[in-house]
Amino acid sequence: MIDKNQKIIDKNLDQEYKYGFTTDIEQIKFEPGLDENVIRKLSNIKNEPKWLLNWRLKAYKNWKKMKEPTWANIHYGPIDYQALSYYAAPKIKSRKNLDEVDPEILDTYNKLGISLNEQKRLEGVAVDAIFDSVSITTTFKDELAKQGVIFCSFSEAVTEYPDLVKKYLGSVIPYTDNYFAALNSAVFSDGSFVYIPKNVKCPMELSTYFRMNASNTGQFERTLIIADEGSEVSYLEGCTAPMRDENQLHAACVELIAHEDATIKYSTIQNWYAGDKNGKGGIYNFVTKRGICAGDRSKISWTQVETGSAITWKYPSVILKGNDSIGEFYSVAVTKNKQQADTGTKMIHIGKNTKSTIISKGISAGEGQNTYRGGVKILKNAENARNFSQCDSILIGDKCGAHTFPYIDVKNQTAKMEHEASTSSIGEDQLFYCNQRGIKLDNAVSMIVNGFCKEVFEELPMEFAVEAKQLIEVTLENSVG
């Protein structure tokens, strides 16, 4: 059976990445390299206020003093930060009117299954489309504005809502936080901005679609979501990139702020190009995501389905500051071929009666390496804090690996902690059982894996849950024999 497995796994490795095409368009692109002048130029091109430029420069100075972290369970060659271009944007006259957007770009999004035409769009979902370093358009903005919801590109927010941006930017992830967050703070180009006013339940799903197109560039987006008292929002991001032989850097920052009684649900379907079967090319995905439950009874829930990227390094976290606040992390991470993922979460309990739940499902196939790294910290004043963690891994084939690193730090004796972990091979017994019922191998594998991921998929908004299931099926097709 093993030989047959290997044969079919090998066949799988030759599978094409569906979103690997490039778009040929006129673009403005900085020469490779990074110094203060590049940051000034970037800030200038975006007409940014002085305070933001200064913030960027401080971040840059800080970054220069920092060292790239080496503690993660990932292995890659050195990244030459001077060889990257820090700004690439298609030439667009105006963002206001879709008619003026290059048809090539609209076509790109159509090919990706994302229609930027509001009439054709999935009902109930508004989209901010980010192409390399800039936002192309944001749909349903006017309709959202009727309820006072702000959903726009980050650059636009800087001009239109400077007070909000100034107040919250870096409030959850300071530029001193870590190496990649510092780099992002210095050079971030665009991203999405969301503000939900008091007591408003956002009437539709908000989503951002990130597309990296230009070669030799990094994408450094910054997303900021603020849910004011008693408000509610569900947000989803999707990501793809062309197949290129070089490794491209993606270092994003996402900050979430939930005030009293507010709820933010943030879902990610990450399908960046993962590199070829020999591990050539693919996205290096170094992302810092953190939310703060600032107010009492607030709630932040992260759900992620990570199937792409050569390297994934991300730990969406929640600071549970408000009393009775809730933090959740639901994750499915798939690694195949030579993909490496080191992902997990941090739950920091500060307030009383705070509660966190962590459900992590790792799937490794081919030579993929999958690491769960999670920290739960209960601070001194966090009376009656509760955490439940469950980390399960499944192995497909005998060349992959699963690793679990849970860190627990409890400073208050009233805390209740539960941790469960399991690792299993996709059972030949399970496959035999399915086969004996007439179910073919591929269907059996996707059935078993989908069953394994069920608790996480249930957290995704309906239409995206379907997408996630299909993505897993395509990713694992022919991975067992």
Partner: protein, 246 residues
């Protein structure tokens, strides 16, 4: 229906079946009795095509087609079904999803359209009530946290839903209380018809009392030592197996 000739099978180079000859015509129910380790479950797994079992010699024919080298799913799709002694759990996959997937795999093979959800539900609810199972059974993850009795009933549920040509019941009676045993036996009797065949593998005679097989075989050390009618099963129950070892 099923014709097994001189079947010799080993696992990890250890010979388990040492030349089995067995023929089960259409419409008949046969039983194989034997001690632990005599090779009964090996026979079931080999007929199903489990690749852990290596066929060293001999052949298996079904309806005059040699299936000795056929893949597990093609055998299943040709109409072979095994009620497993220890069916594995598949967490997160509901009974309904699994059952419908297997029914539709068979339908697709037969060139039929998929069974629609309403028809599927009606059909499975009917079988569930016959097995004294609640409708909510369909929503549970297959074999995950099932009691011993539930696992056996789940296998019978699948047997009745798929209605195969040839069924093997591998110790379906083990670990059942008397009520569950009767329910399971009723299910098997419901399945048995002139158009299909059944092989019942068991240690004990008690299930056979309810099913009444046409032929009873006793297996000893990888061979069929003796065949007869129901009276042979009664004799074994009374005297044990030792008299057959000589």
């Amino acid at each position: 229906m099923i014709k097994i000739k001189n079947l010799q099978v080993s696992i990890d180079e250890k010979d388990i079946l040492k030349g089995i000859d067995l023929e089960i015509p259409k419409g008949e129910v046969h039983a194989i009795m034997g001690r632990n380790g005599s090779g009964k479950s090996t026979l079931a797994n080999t007929i199903a095509g489990n690749e852990k079992y290596e066929v060293k010699n001999g052949s298996i024919h079904m309806n005059n087609i040699d299936i000795t080298e056929m893949s597990v799913e093609n055998r299943a799709l040709s109409g072979i079904f095994v009620c497993f002694q220890y069916p594995v759990a598949i967490p997160g996959v509901s009974m309904a999803y699994f059952l419908r997937a297997s029914i539709n795999a068979h339908f697709e093979h037969q060139g039929k359209e998929e069974m629609d959800a309403v028809e599927f539900l009606n059909k499975s609810k009917k079988i569930l009530s016959e097995l004294n199972l609640d409708d909510s059974f369909l929503k549970r993850s297959i074999n995950d946290g099932f009691s011993g009795g539930e696992k056996k009933k789940s296998e019978i549920l699948q047997l009745l839903a798929l209605n195969p040509k040839f069924a093997i019941l591998d110790e379906t009676d083990s670990g059942l209380d008397i009520d569950a045993l009767k329910t399971v036996a009723n299910g098997v009797n419901k399945f048995n018809s002139k158009d299909n065949s059944t092989l019942i593998i068991t240690h004990y005679e008690r299930l056979l009392q309810y099913i009444n097989p046409d032929v009873v075989h006793v297996m000893v050390d990888g061979k069929i030592k003796k065949s007869g009618d129901m009276s042979l099963a009664k004799e074994v129950e009374k005297k044990g197996y030792s008299w057959l070892l000589k």
